[in-house]
Amino acid sequence: MSLDQLLDPSTPPRRYVITGGPSSGKEGVFAELHAQGIPASEGEFAREIYRKHRDLLGRHLQVGDRRAYSRDVLEAFVAEYCDHAFGLRFYNRGIPDGYGWDAFFGLGPYPELEEASRVYRYDAVFVLDPLDDFDSEDDLVWAREREIRRVHELIIQGYYDAGYRPIFVPADEASRRVEFILAQLPIPTL
């Protein structure tokens, strides 16, 4: 099955996740997918949910607020998964991202996340390598910058824990990363 055939909206659903830690360039990759007319998530609803929670609380979320937020994000991921019935689609993050983000805040996996990760399976997962090594030119590494690396590593671990073998996308400009992703798509042969 070729990419053109996959893009045919009448073919069975194929779901591909593109994920990565902060500063891995997801915005650029999704903008490129949209520019090429390839079906892909619009925006990142985890961020919209974050803003909704923040507005309700009147402050940024703290660790104690994270579980409720995580459940809402999971619900939205599942809905996005189920809404897609035909053809190819790229997802801006996927259900197992919850493992990594929750672990970053010291939270363990919860039953609904485990269940959803088992039931709703993606056809492949692409992890964008970070666009920065987070070192400064004088070798100064900020503690906060280490957190970015840690989030990235925990997200990857979450996908391994959920039984995926991610495909890593090297740092490059967005169009070349999309080219790489499309070339690496594990598509079924007819």
Partner: protein, 482 residues
């Protein structure tokens, strides 16, 4: 001033050193081609903490190169210190995206705070270097520089070729970091993930960015908008060097640590993508290396990732740990860098901490306890000082002479000759006429009539220099030429 100096550096030859007799000849090609009125030796330093030996080496080299250029080529020189106050003062993560946001030193401390910081770490050293070399210096912050219309025009001119220069400026992915701090809080997305160029024209450009606390915002960059333009290292150097390259009155010579020789390859690539200008001359100073051959890194040692290398003293990592005052530190550095500059083979190379320790340990001790500031003189005036018949030296009041007082020592230098004098009195005047008429022209030059002297002095110092104020320095000979 010093005892017998028997310290010997042994250096292999290399292509650059083999091409010249003096280290300072590095500036000559552009001097010959351009014929500038003066040469500015530019040193940029991140002001994010106490400097280390590598920083001091670059700064000392700038002053000594300025001194040698003045002497070798007879051109006015100055050291221009660029305080990089856009270095990150604090970093935090956006709770929503976990993108890093940074606040610069300028935004955290303000203009007065930056001035205090420069005063704390650099002012005493620069004053002392100016005294020791007779070279004046200027301080300019990055914040002041980016606010100048010329800098902003230069930046705006690059945007038309952004698609070409982004590759040399960010070769791995082509995404350059253009930071425009939020006008409300001063924080900016460090890697500019959500910063977009909306429109660009010859007179200005509009950008959109996102603040953690204040949401989306747009800024306009023109010659006169107050938008703060925080450029990442390579882009900043590109704009700064292009701006310098346009100046045909002052030749800017960039003095940089040796590790920049690699980084400048990318700046040169970006230059090549833009029309017209060629980069200004650059002089790379010796790198301070560990025993592994890696650059000495204070951060890596502080974090315990590597042990202090052999020969590394605490003051090499933090110059405030030097046991002595600023003058004694500067004297030691001037001696050390002077040894390096004495032969291009010694200057255009690197040194391990062990080798530097060996050199510094073998450094001759000061014998007289005198610290003399150096002043250059033409032969006809030097001979009058040396025979004791010239007792008034005339200078304009450069900032580095503001502390000159009775009891100080001045070593007058002419070629290989020098004469040590003691200052008896310093008198300040508004003009050269007033000085000559009050002090008496025969004390300035017993062999020349007043009007002739006035004409000669004004050939050396233009009206803008005279406007700084005029000094009559009464001197007495301590020791005749050595």
């Amino acid at each position: 001033m010093n005892g017998r100096d028997s310290v010997e550096i042994i250096s292999p030859n290399n292509v650059l050193a083999n091409a010249m007799l003096r280290s300072v000849d590095m500036v000559r090609p552009r001097l010959q081609a351009m014929g500038p009125d003066r040469v500015a030796f530019c040193v940029g330093t991140q002001i994010n903490g106490a400097p280390h030996l590598g920083t001091s080496l670059v700064q000392t080299a700038a002053f000594l190169l300025a001194k040698q250029t003045k002497r070798a080529f007879g051109v006015d020189t100055v050291v221009r210190f660029g305080a990089l106050d856009n270095a990150p003062y604090d970093i935090r993560l956006d709770p929503e995206t976990h993108h890093a946001y940074q606040q610069t030193y300028f935004h955290a401390l303000g203009t007065d705070g930056i001035e205090d910081l420069v005063g704390k770490y650099y002012r005493a050293m620069f004053d002392s270097l100016a005294d020791a070399t007779g070279v004046d210096y200027e301080v300019e912050t990055y914040s002041a520089q980016q606010a100048s219309p010329a800098f902003r025009h230069e930046f705006l001119a690059t945007l038309g070729r952004l698609d070409q220069i982004r590759w040399p400026l960010a070769p791995s992915h082509g995404q350059v970091h253009l930071r425009f701090p939020c006008p409300e809080c001063g924080w900016a997305e460090k890697r500019a993930e959500r910063t977009q160029l909306l429109r660009a024209g010859s007179g200005g450009a509009d950008f959109a960015a996102v603040c953690t606390d204040h949401g989306s915002y747009e800024v306009a960059v023109t010659a006169d908008t107050p938008t703060y333009l925080d450029l990442a290292t390579l882009y900043r150097n590109l704009v700064k060097e292009r701006l310098a390259a346009r100046d045909h009155v002052t030749l800017s010579v960039m003095v940089k640590g040796g590790d920049w020789a690699f980084g400048c390859q990318l700046v040169d690539e970006a230059f090549a993508q833009l029309p017209g200008l060629v980069p200004p001359p650059r002089i790379f100073t010796p790198m301070v290396l560990t025993d592994t051959g890696a650059k000495l890194s204070k951060s890596l040692i502080r974090e315990g990732k590597i042990a202090p290398p052999p020969g590394a003293h605490p003051w090499m990592l933090d110059v405030t740990a030097w046991e002595g005052d600023a003058d004694s530190y500067v004297d030691a550095l001037v001696w050390l860098v002077g040894k390096m500059l004495a032969d291009p083979k010694h200057f255009y190379r690197s040194y391990t901490t062990a080798e530097l320790d060996k050199l510094m340990t073998a450094r001759p001790a000061a014998t007289t306890g005198l610290r003399a500031r150096e002043m250059n003189l033409y032969r006809r005036y030097f001979d009058l000082v040396a025979d004791g018949s010239k007792t008034i030296e005339v200078r304009v009041q450069y900032p580095n002479l503001r502390r000159l007082a009775a009891g100080d020592h001045i070593r007058f230098v002419c070629g290989r000759d020098d004469a040590l004098t003691r200052v008896r009195r310093v008198a300040r005047y508004a003009s050269f006429e007033e000085l000559l008429d009050t002090e008496g022209p025969e004390k300035v030059n017993p062999a020349s009539p007043r009007d002739q002297q006035l004409a000669n002095i004004r050939r050396i110092y233009g009206p803008e220099k005279e406007a700084l104020g005029v000094l009559a320095i009464e001197i007495e000979l301590v020791s005749p030429p050595s």
